[in-house]
């Protein structure tokens, strides 16, 4: 293992073993700063005939060798350390979500309290939470037992009871886990890891109940008192066990663990680390999203009373390849196709989507296929964000206080911490966003799915390297920060969008944009329209700035209240300034013919796609 910020690290090779593709990047010290220089990718090889994740890793590194003309592999071994002739690297690091990621069940006593805390801890640790069990979850004990047996998690996190409080209920939950005795997903000899993070007084009884059948780990209470949440030790244990138990069972992972100079991190944990770092460094509210083949992760960091609250959610069956058919099933055909300016037969669409599901590594070669795929992406992002809003109601971080009255009021109202009008930056990552042929498409997808309100900056991960930088943060923070700022984040621009509804064609707002270049743009936006004003980066690659004055129409709100004028800072980007008067939620025309024209006009305003040649009708 390398030491943190080791000055000898000059050439870093990093991979992310995704469920669909393995992405390798090369980071090097160029002059006095770290830069990402080359990138390669190859299909992830957990499937037969390979059944060895390292094959995909080697193939992706091979691509870097081809592109850079340098050698990093000696047969099937990575060359360490870097040699004077330019071969080899100083460290190899990796994240992974291959093989379906880490699938956990969590259990607590009260659903809205300890179980919710346990769920947040598991999500923060990078897991997919398959189910949340609680004494008050309106299920009979035998139903919970059956559920555990059916789902066969990789790991269980059990919380419950404040320190010194009631023991019986958490012991009861342990008894149910014991009775379920779930069949291990990863082989007969594998003992299922259970992490206990509940009432310290109940530890002996939990040990008596569970230690025979399970690999039991005990960590400090996730909820030591009602107004404290302490997820850190449980999260760290989840990540340890992920590598030690779960990944070690997957084909080829033992080799990968040996190669890596730092613990292999679950991909979502690494992305979360980077999103959190951006928000804390800049002191802003951030939403990040990583849309993958199997799952979509949403991260948020919002300041509440000057304290930042970080949340992560994962939508296990919303993704662009393995889960694409589920996006269609959950969103419905009409929602997917409302974003397209053409029609397609349902049967044809269904078959195309299923074919993507069964052959997840294919790419859209035709324009219509791309448009359909990006429609699916909008719906996957929208649904994942809805799930995130339901979860992001949590306690503040460790040592932060919330009294019991707050807890119950949150339960009653489901009060989300996500306030779109207060969002500063929306960052997208994942193949469909990072690799969209035009950046306008990435911006359209993010705006359509998340529907930011007021003034919001948007950015994407340039070539999908946030996971790599997340794990790099743990090894070499300076390198991670430099590469993030210089090579990873691509600022798309700023979106101005009033909240509210109006009649199509009525005045939505007037605007005056005073740009750093001296240009001034003034005009009026009609409700239902969208407009793009290109405004880019300066010679140092940073967003050009300016001032926007937006005067919304009656009933429409830009953040200061309905009809109230605002002044806001403009940040340019590779796409520019978007004036979005389509309402929140975005309002569609009623008839199919009008909607097609409407979407076509929006697409043209954005410069989103090349001219269609016909294609699917």
């Amino acid at each position: 293992m390398s030491q943190k910020n080791d000055p000898n690290l000059k050439v870093i090779l990093a991979t992310d073993c995704g469920s669909t593709t393995t992405k390798a990047i090369l980071i090097e010290l160029v002059g006095d700063e770290f830069r990402q220089t080359y990138r390669g990718e190859a299909p992830t090889t957990v499937e037969a005939p390979f059944e060895d994740v390292t094959k995909g890793v080697l193939n992706s590194i091979n691509e870097i060798e081809d592109l850079s003309g340098r050698k990093f592999l000696d047969g099937e071994k990575i060359i360490y350390p870097s040699q004077p002739d330019g071969t080899g690297c100083d460290i190899y690091i990796s994240t992974s979500s291959a093989g379906g990621g880490l699938q956990m069940m969590v259990a607590g006593v009260v659903k809205q309290m300890t179980a919710e805390s346990a769920e947040r801890a598991a999500l923060g640790g990078g897991a997919i939470v398959m189910d949340v069990l609680a004494i008050n979850d309106h299920r009979m004990p035998h139903e919970r037992i059956e559920r555990i047996r059916v789902l066969r998690p990789d790991m269980i996190l059990l919380a419950g009871g404040t320190d010194g409080g009631d023991e019986a209920k958490v012991v009861s939950m342990a008894e149910q886990i014991s009775a379920a005795d779930p069949r291990p997903r990863l082989g007969i000899s594998y003992k299922l890891p259970v992490i206990y993070a509940g009432n310290v007084e109940a530890r002996d009884k939990i040990g008596e109940t569970l230690s025979d059948k399970f690999a039991l780990s005990i960590v400090s209470n996730i909820r030591p008192t009602l107004d404290q949440e302490n997820p850190w030790e449980a999260r760290a244990k989840i990540q340890d066990l992920f590598e030690e138990h779960v990944m070690a069972q997957a084909p080829g992972y033992n080799k990968l663990i040996d190669w890596a100079g730092a613990p292999i991190m679950p991909t979502p944990a690494a992305v979360g680390l980077i999103i959190r770092t951006i928000a804390e460094q800049e002191g802003i509210n951030v939403i990040g999203v990583d849309i993958g083949g199997a799952t979509t992760d949403v991260f948020s960091y919002f300041k509440v009373e000057d304290e930042g609250i970080f949340n992560r959610s994962v939508s296990a069956n919303l993704g662009m390849s393995y889960s694409v058919s589920n996006v269609m099933a959950e969103a419905g055909m009409n929602n997917v196709m409302r974003w397209a300016s053409f029609d397609i037969e349902e049967e044809d669409l269904r078959n195309r989507i299923k074919n993507k599901m069964i052959r997840p590594t294919t790419i859209p070669q035709l324009l219509d296929e791309l448009i359909i795929e990006q429609g699916l992406a909008r719906e996957a992002l929208r649904l994942a964000f809805e799930q995130h809003k339901e979860l992001a109601v949590g306690l503040k971080g460790v040592q932060q206080q919330r009294d019991i009255a707050d807890a119950f009021s949150q339960e009653a109202s489901g009060a989300s911490l996500i306030k779109m009008m207060e969002l500063d930056l929306l960052v997208g990552s994942g193949g469909v966003l990072s690799h969209a042929p035009r950046r306008q498409q990435s911006m359209m997808m993010l705006i359509d799915a998340f529907q930011p309100e007021g003034t919001t900056r948007l950015a994407v991960d340039s070539i999908f390297m946030m996971p790599h930088l997340g794990v790099l943060t743990a090894v070499h923070e300076k390198a991670a920060t430099e590469v993030f700022n210089k090579d990873c984040i691509i600022y798309l621009g700023t979106c101005f969008a009033p909240k509210g509804d109006h009649k199509f064609g009525d005045k939505a707002f007037t605007y005056k944009l005073e740009l750093e270049t001296g240009e001034v743009h003034e005009g009026e936006m009609k409700f239902g329209d969208v407009k793009l004003i290109p405004y880019g980066l300066n010679e140092r690659g940073l967003p050009m700035k300016g001032t926007a004055t937006i005067n919304p129409g009656r009933g429409l709100d830009m953040g200061e209240g309905p009809g109230k004028k605002i002044t806001a800072e403009i940040y340019g980007g590779v796409v520019g300034i978007v004036l979005d008067a389509r309402g929140r939620p975005i309002k569609f025309r009623d008839t199919q013919e009008d909607r097609v024209k409407q979407v076509d006009a929006w697409t043209k305003a954005f410069g989103g796609y090349p001219e269609r040649k016909g294609g699917a009708q």
Binding site: F50, E167, I188, A250, N355
Partner: protein, 379 residues
């Protein structure tokens, strides 16, 4: 020579196949190394723990949790019968016995746990026997004590792309005349009961229903429609994890969704195996340890040639002249040969910039296709 890494499904006339036949929990292995087994032979068996039920004994007895053990008439591990009294409070005086509180068991089984912490009594229904059959004709190569066996067989092996329904088997009957033909309902006859029937380009819902009604063990076809799949399952399949469906037959799709000509090699291979017994499974899992549906046709000793085909033909990557199938629009489903692997990135109609290859399609036309959109067909 240039090469590219491309996924591919195996279609092999003869291969050494190993099948793990493993119990879900530890149990008893019924065969030994070297034993010859038939598909329906039981090779291992065990018992799964019965369903558990929890009774709030503390509440029913009206006592503290810590007092529950002393009122129990049955102890942990004791057998119980439905309606039997398993706990009873003690009367203050013997003649007040009618005032005692009793707990009756609602199930047969045993007492799993009596908790003096929660006051709950967990009951467990009798264990459920689980048997593992050989599934394929073959020989026991290795016994994993208490866990199962690894069987070895020399067989024709064809992987499908998608399937539904579990493990089954039967004699192969070729029903469609050519790989281009749809399997029609009126082609499915009473004598196909218990058989594995082979269609061509497509099988629709009416043909599937007919197959189920006839008692056909399995259906193999190149394509299936997603709308029909929804009708068959009764729900929209979101995530491809299949194999557990109880639809009355097993379906193995070799090429994909929609009407697609079956690869000639697959169809011809099945034709040459007509009359032989195939073991098939529709189980598909396209994440977390990929499983593809399969057709295994064990060969008789006289049919085995001395040179078994390589098991790893597809792992070396696609090379020039290799036979491939286009797996995404345009030209979805068509078969051709790699003319050349183009090293430069190219921009497609969608403006996606990708690595490509030139493929000569069966009709002789050349076509530039993203490398990600082809799969190798073993030749």
């Amino acid at each position: 020579m240039a090469h590219a890494y491309t996924p591919g499904l195996r279609v092999t006339a003869q291969a050494e196949i190993e099948k793990d036949r493993i119990l879900p929990l530890k149990g008893e292995v019924k065969v030994k190394v070297g034993d010859k087994v038939k598909a329906n032979d039981i090779v291992a068996m065990t018992e799964l723990p019965g369903d558990a039920q929890s009774i709030n004994a503390m509440g029913l007895l009206g006592c503290e949790a810590s007092e529950v053990p002393e009122y129990m008439l049955k102890q942990e591990g004791d057998a119980i019968e439905e309606g039997e009294i398993i706990a009873e409070t003690k009367p203050l005086l013997p003649f007040l016995k009618f005032m005692t509180a009793k707990v009756k068991t609602p199930i047969d089984g045993k007492i799993y746990k009596i908790s003096n912490v929660t006051g709950q009594v967990i009951l467990q229904e009798p264990p459920k026997p689980v048997i593992v059959k050989a599934y394929v004709d073959g020989e026991v190569q290795e016994v994993l004590p208490d866990e199962g066996v690894i069987l070895k067989t020399t067989a024709t092996f064809i992987q499908g792309i998608f399937g539904v329904g579990g493990e089954t088997g039967g004699e192969i009957v070729i029903v469609s005349k050519s790989p281009k033909d749809e399997l029609m309902p009126d082609e499915i006859l009473p004598e196909h009961k218990g058989k594995v029937i082979v269609g061509g380009s497509y099988v629709g819902i009416e043909a599937i229903k007919k197959a189920i009604d006839t008692g056909v063990a399995g259906v193999i076809a190149a394509g299936l429609g997603d709308k029909d799949l929804k009708k068959l399952l009764g729900y929209d399949l979101g995530v491809a994890i299949t194999g557990h469906e109880e639809i009355g037959t097993t379906i193995v799709v070799t090429e994909g969704f929609g009407r697609i000509e079956m690869a000639h090699r697959t169809f011809e291979l099945l034709r040459t195996r007509e009359g032989m017994r195939a073991s098939i499974s529709g189980a598909t899992q396209i994440r977390a340890g990929v499983i593809r549906p399969e057709i295994i046709i064990p060969l008789e000793p006289a049919q085995i040639s001395s040179e078994a085909e390589s098991q790893t033909a597809a792992t070396d990557g696609v090379q020039e002249h290799a036979p491939v199938r286009i797996i995404r629009e345009p030209n979805f489903g068509q078969i051709g040969h790699v003319k050349r692997l183009i090293p430069e990135l190219m921009i497609m109609e969608s403006e996606t910039k990708v690595r490509v290859m030139e493929v000569t399609l069966a009709d002789g036309t050349d076509f530039i296709v993203a490398r990600a959109n082809v799969e190798i067909i073993e030749d």
